[in-house]
Symmetry: C2
Subunit: 239 residues, 2 copies
DNA sequence: CGCAATATAAATTTATAGATTTTTTGGAAT
DNA sequence: ATTCCAAAAAATCTATAAATTTATATTGCG
């Protein structure tokens, strides 16, 4: 017997996957701006790779809803809009409410422990790297995702979980795109704690209500961020 | 002014899209059997096209859940199993119940008319082309899809509708794969009529219940079809 | 003599480079 | 100002090359 278990995933290590990861990060972070055209020449030079792996990556990202493809006229970074943000948030509230209810209905001690653990770990990491200005903490983001994944992880449907993941990705991009210095005023840690408590107490109505409010509050902050949306506050836009 | 409006979609006409359609049809019909390996050489010869459009099509089909890709060892037709059929059906019931409730909550006269029309058209087309043996009628399948799409079309979420579409596709493949001579015994037309009636009367609980039963009944028939699943009824399978 | 491990060969996936269409752009003519 | 045409840019596709995986055969050891 060996002490170290054999790696079940011996590292993908195909260029397509590598470029996919890099592109994805640049899309989510906003380094590739919404509605920007993704020309092959630019991409091959920037990411130092051929067209085949790039096409592969772009197609996957299209499925993720981060890239848009128009027949015979190339790939584009998916555009953003207030309408889409509202619709994505609405959908996420609906679908995760469903998934959370089903998870709670199929609850097990292991699942509850997993949830408690995920919330604890999240609570021990600072939301921002800097105390003065808001600076995204990748570790927090990672644990945040794990926590929300755990909430719905017991629902018993891989496809539903995957769909929630897609919605989470798309909404994550909106968060990163938004300047939103307003976040520090919120006590997201408390919100997570309240959700966990509701789940553990078996009060699914309350848990769902808190979760939806959690998402809605985030969306409301971003919706008010004039910087990321074409701020047509006045009236019409001149040509 | 012209009498005929300019076509908004001037026909995709890229080889990738063309192969995508053909492959999709062959996957859904079962001509490409579950878990079969999709080798490039076979594909290029069969579909008379190059690797680039094929890769593009295969990647899109992977996103649709009809094809599976394993890093560096090629593409495979998605395998089928009783477990997956059950999970997909369960998920579809959940998600379409949600979408139907939201559609009804946002109901308009136009939507109700659209639904009535879709059901009427569906009722006027025979389920089977042949009266003696069961023979799939493409026109019925098309109208059936339109009807179910109409049911959830008012929910106000493009992403949710798209997700329902994916589940519908995957489950459609199970239906085609199953021999299921048992269908004629069911009166699916009556089931659709009952659903429509419940929707029009505003009874969302009943509508959702009928819709779920509709899907569950279909799944139950296929689950009993020993032909499409590795029938390990006895015990183990010898090597 | 049989089994296991290793090295070699074949097949297949992945990537690169170049050719072919298609769309877009800019300018000239109506 | 609008339409038409030609040149340029860009996307799509084919063909070829490189890298990786799977299969086969050979060698070493129990």
């Amino acid at each position: 017997m060996e002490l170290t278990a054999a790696p079940p995933l011996p590292a993908p290590s195909t260029q397509a996957s590598h470029v996919y990861d890099r592109l994805r990060e640049d899309l989510l972070s906003g380094r590739l701006a919404p509605s920007r055209k993704l020309q092959m020449r630019f991409l091959t030079e920037t990411y130092q790779t051929g067209q085949t792996p790039l096409r592969e990556a772009l197609n996957r990202l299209t499925a993720d809803g981060l890239v848009e493809v128009r027949e015979q006229r190339g790939f584009y970074v998916k555009d953003v809009s207030r309408a889409e943000l509202a619709e994505l948030t609405k959908t996420r509230c609906w679908v995760e409410a469903l998934a959370l209810r089903e998870s709670m209905a199929a609850s097990t001690p292991q699942w509850e422990e997993q949830l408690v653990l995920a919330q604890h770990r999240l609570s021990r990491v600072p939301r921002s790297l800097s105390a003065t200005a808001f600076e995204d903490n990748p570790e927090w983001e990672k644990l945040h995702r794990v926590y929300h994944r755990a909430l719905i992880g017991q629902c018993g449907s891989q496809s539903l979980i995957a769909f929630c993941g897609q919605l989470a990705d798309q909404l994550y991009r909106y968060r990163r795109l938004s300047i939103s210095k307003a976040f520090p005023s919120r006590h997201v840690g408390d919100e997570h704690a309240a959700i966990t408590e509701a789940v553990l107490s078996g009060d699914s109505d309350l848990a769902v209500k808190l979760l939806a409010a959690h998402y809605q509050r985030t969306a409301d902050v971003i919706l008010q961020d004039e910087a990321i949306f074409p701020e047509l506050r006045g009236e019409a836009h001149r040509a």
